[in-house]
């Protein structure tokens, strides 16, 4: 999620080896014989160590709350637990982050564990976002890289110091390998054996980070830390939380976006066995019951009259007509170079195209849900797959009338998210808190979404319309490109607006077009907001989920118009973008791009950067009448230093599958304001029989690592579109693909 403008990274973001360790960044805490070490967030308030001088454990300034911040905990039982400040919703961050620590610590992979951090923005903020603890923008590895390397290296140094103390040998003679410290005299000890003593050691003023050529874990195949708990049914997700005496709540939300409750008749609902209470909150009407089945039956029995005076009443076709009207007028300028309109007027070969993109639901496998319980002292415990703890804590606290420190969040495994669990207004936490506030708060409440609630519940990837014109120059390059996008901003009116709006343009709406890498002397990109009460949100890869399709299909059109090979055509325009070139060449080579294909088959290519990760894909398709089978997708990815190659591969497979599923058949449409789809029968996900063979190649790199959760999504739809064109000569521009238009091809 989130546009990369939010995640701008310094160019000099290379490996700092060795690096001086700012002692202010390190916090050490011992307890119960364990070594606990953390790296404090830069920009935090000053710490007493400034005055205390070197060599002392760091204590918070008097009056500050205690900060048990720890990223690494080494226990006497020889386990090393990494406190993970990010949500793992499948992307593998509970494997990736421990790998970084284990590498600098020289731990054995088998002793590594992971634990989700509590909600605490001061200690566990995302350094890419500012003072917010949160997961998104494929930023987890990037923003943790240096922080966790230092944490691992500092813990290693303290273990060595403990060995030196114990064995009375020089530090230079102590070696560490796979969780064991050794001296040539034959002395040896495990981390666990030295943990207590290590905790007494001073925090080193400087740590030496490894030279990447000495990495022994990073870049190798390691099993995911969660590979066992997620295959035997023991992993606990939010939906599995069970508190004593807990009630289950389902919320009836307005049938139209922008609607509100006018009146409720809950008599029949209350008569259902197991229904305990019915409460009206600003977000709808909630039924609380002893179990999910009773709650759902109770909700079905509600009779609610809605006030739709401020609601979205349009159907999808009317919305699109409105978007097209807007697209005929000038919008806010997102990018401008030269004079595109003038150049288009005077060019010979002009290609025009339009694309429509539907609203999309995220449909994570585990529907949204969270549990709240009130403690005896009036504070609250929330249990959830919390993706934006800082926001959720604030929203829950405000709704319940307490300060945020009275709201604790226990984060558990999340069954997918794809952006849905992170909202600028903490939506489902707000719903749950509002429901809780309406009860006597004596019983814990578990608010659950049904799949229908999920599909109909909004927070969609916004609908978009793109109108484009581009012209070739006489050398086979691109003379001009004029691009208008119409689509709703989900940043407007949120806390993110000041950061995300650049000169009147929502950067997340135009990312991937306004900053496209191709050398185009005359470029004009404009955007129109298309406000609606329909709630919208980032969806895996955000703006790139539509802009890559528009740009990369247009590039294919232009290559075709220039009678050039689509790879060569792109390469000629990517001279200043070596990482685009690297992945494009690698994917083309591995796929044998350009080889002769049998009739009815074709190959298509696309390359796209998102979140500073570069991905190229070649799709091989077979088309029979209007049936398209995607046979194979060859992927090349450059995400800097590959930390866990197998996790990278998995994210490319998953990203391509997620993007493909949406492109094949997913859309949310409206009939007079009512969503047409409801569940997986009408919003059918990709299934095994749709899944192509996926072949992933990782570009070796010494650049700082970047994320892989989202960048596998954008190139898949255009690669498939372009392959279908190669097979049939027909263009599939809009999403989902209109396969019927291929009939008779």
């Amino acid at each position: 999620m989130y546009a990369k403008t939010m995640l701008r990274r310094p160019e000099a973001d290379r490996l700092p080896v060795p690096t001086a360790l700012n002692r202010r960044d390190i916090l050490k805490a011992g307890g119960a014989g364990a070594l606990v070490i953390g790296v404090l967030i830069r920009g935090g308030r000053a710490y007493a160590e400034e005055a205390a001088g070197g060599g002392k454990a760091i204590a918070p300034v008097a009056g500050d709350p205690p900060r048990p911040n720890a990223f690494v905990r080494i226990a006497p039982d020889n386990t090393v637990t990494v406190i993970v400040k990010h949500l793992d919703k499948g992307q593998g961050v509970t494997t990736g982050l421990p790998t970084i620590v284990a590498e600098e610590l020289d731990a054995d992979w088998g002793q590594m564990r992971a634990e989700f951090a509590p909600a605490n923005a001061q200690l566990y903020n995302n350094t890419d976002f500012g003072p917010i603890q949160g997961t998104g923008g494929s930023s987890s590895v990037h923003n943790s890289w240096t922080q966790l390397r230092k944490a691992g290296a500092a813990a290693r140094a303290m273990l060595i110091a403990a060995a030196v103390d114990e064995w009375k040998v020089p530090a230079t003679e102590v070696t560490v390998e796979k969780g064991v410290l050794r001296h040539k005299s034959g002395k040896q000890a495990t981390f666990g054996e030295l943990a207590a003593k290590a905790a007494q050691q001073p925090v080193p003023p400087e740590v030496h980070l490894k030279d990447p050529k000495d990495f022994t874990l990073i870049g190798t195949k390691l099993h995911r830390i969660d590979h066992i708990v997620k295959t035997n049914g023991t992993a606990i997700y939010a939906l599995d939380i069970r508190r004593p005496n807990m009630l289950t709540a389902v919320l009836q939300r307005p049938t139209r976006f922008g609607g509100t409750v006018k009146s409720v008749d809950d008599k029949a609902a209350r008569a259902i066995k197991g229904v305990v209470d019915v409460v009206t909150v600003p977000q709808g009407v909630a039924v609380l019951a002893e179990n999910t089945w009773a709650a759902r039956q109770g909700r079905d029995a509600l009779k609610i009259e809605w006030d739709d005076s401020k609601a979205e009443m349009r159907s999808s076709a009317e919305m699109l007509a409105d978007y097209k009207k807007l697209a005929a007028t000038r919008g806010s300028i997102a990018a401008k170079a030269g004079d595109a309109e003038q150049a288009l007027g005077s060019s010979g070969k002009v290609v025009k195209a339009e694309f429509t993109f539907p609203y999309l639901a995220h449909a994570p496998m585990e529907p949204l849900n969270a549990t709240v319980e009130r403690a005896a002292d009036g504070s609250y415990d929330f249990y959830a797959g919390s993706q934006f703890p800082t926001i959720e804590q604030a929203v829950a606290a405000a709704t319940l009338g307490v300060t945020p420190d009275k709201v604790r969040i226990k984060t558990v495994w999340a069954g997918g998210s794809f952006g849905r669990r992170a909202t600028p207004n903490g939506d489902y936490f707000g719903e749950l808190a509002a429901i809780m506030a309406k009860t006597d708060q004596k019983r814990p409440i578990h608010l659950v979404y049904t799949r229908e609630d999920d599909i109909k519940g909004g927070r969609y990837r916004p609908m978009f319309y793109h109108a484009m014109e581009a012209a070739l120059d006489t050398n086979g390059g691109i003379a001009a490109w004029h691009h208008r996008l119409v689509g709703q901003s989900f940043m407007k009116g949120t806390a993110f607006e000041p950061v995300m709006f650049k000169e009147g343009v929502d950067a997340t709406a135009v990312e991937g077009v306004a900053d496209m890498p191709y050398a185009i002397p005359n470029l004009l990109v404009e955007w129109h907001d298309a406000p609606s009460p329909v709630s919208t949100l980032w969806w895996r890869s955000v703006g790139h989920s539509h802009t890559a399709q528009a740009v990369e299909v247009m590039m294919d059109d232009l290559a075709h118009a220039a009678a050039k090979n689509p790879v060569d055509f792109r390469l000629a325009l990517l001279k200043d973008h070596p990482r685009h070139v690297g992945v494009l060449k690698l994917a083309a080579e591995k796929a044998g791009f350009g080889k002769t294909m049998p009739a009815g088959q074709g190959q298509g290519v696309a390359v796209h950067e998102s979140f500073n990760t570069y991905v190229a894909m070649v799709a091989d398709v077979t088309v029979k009448d209007s049936n398209v089978k995607v046979d194979r997708i060859t992927i090349a990815v450059d995400c800097g230093i590959p930390i866990n190659p197998d996790v990278i591969r998995a994210q490319m497979e998953g990203g391509a599958g997620y993007g493909l599923g949406a492109a094949l058949r997913n859309q949310i449409t409206f009939d007079k304001g009512i969503v047409d789809q409801a569940n997986f029968d009408t919003y059918e996900p990709l299934r095994m029989s749709d899944m192509p063979v996926i072949d992933v190649h990782i570009v070796p790199s010494a650049e700082a690592p970047t994320g892989v959760g989202e960048p596998g999504v954008p190139p898949v739809a255009p690669a498939v579109s372009n392959a279908v064109f190669a097979a049939t000569g027909k263009r599939l521009r809009s999403l989902p693909f209109d396969f019927d238009s291929l009939k008779g091809a």
């Binding site: 969660d226 585990e366 029968d681 095994m688 899944m691």
Partner: protein, 151 residues
């Protein structure tokens, strides 16, 4: 009272006979390894075995499950189950993992019937199990791997 035999133990439940088995398992018996995904037999997350056959527990009323041997992810054992779980672990199939109880229950059902499944056999047995993380390639590979382990 409805009596259910789950993973070898008998549970007496005072519940609506129409209640889907899924909610009885999850909410009344607090066995949460079996997951809810859709409630309409479209995703397979809730797959359990009824007398060894994979069924969707969200569409099986407890009154229909009574009198049968019900097995959930918590209770699977035996050669096939072990081979399937070992293959899943070896190939690091899981991402979010939420669908995987259901995937594994379906795969055990398939391999118990068809020890050496073809790609087509795998697709027809597994197409009803949705994975939003799209781990399908690895699921397919893990089923072949498990078949080899059992051979």
């Amino acid at each position: 009272m409805i009596s259910l035999k789950i993973n070898g133990s008998t549970h007496a439940l005072d519940a609506d006979p129409d209640m889907p088995l899924l909610w009885a398992i999850r909410d009344l018996l607090n066995m949460t390894g079996t997951k809810f995904g859709c409630g309409i037999a479209q995703c397979g997350a809730c797959t359990v075995h009824l007398d060894g056959q994979p069924v969707r527990s969200c569409q099986t009323a407890i009154s229909d499950a009574a009198g049968h041997e019900i097995t959930t992810i918590e209770g699977v054992n035996g050669k096939v189950a072990q081979a399937v779980q070992a293959a899943w672990q070896e190939l690091d199939v899981v991402q979010c993992g939420y669908c995987q109880s259901g995937q594994i229950m379906s795969a055990i059902g398939l391999l118990s019937q068809t020890p050496k499944p073809s790609d087509n056999d795998i697709e027809s047995a597994m197409d009803g199990n949705v994975c939003r993380c799209a781990t399908y390639g690895r699921i397919r590979a893990a089923i072949h791997d498990a078949a080899n382990r059992l051979a």
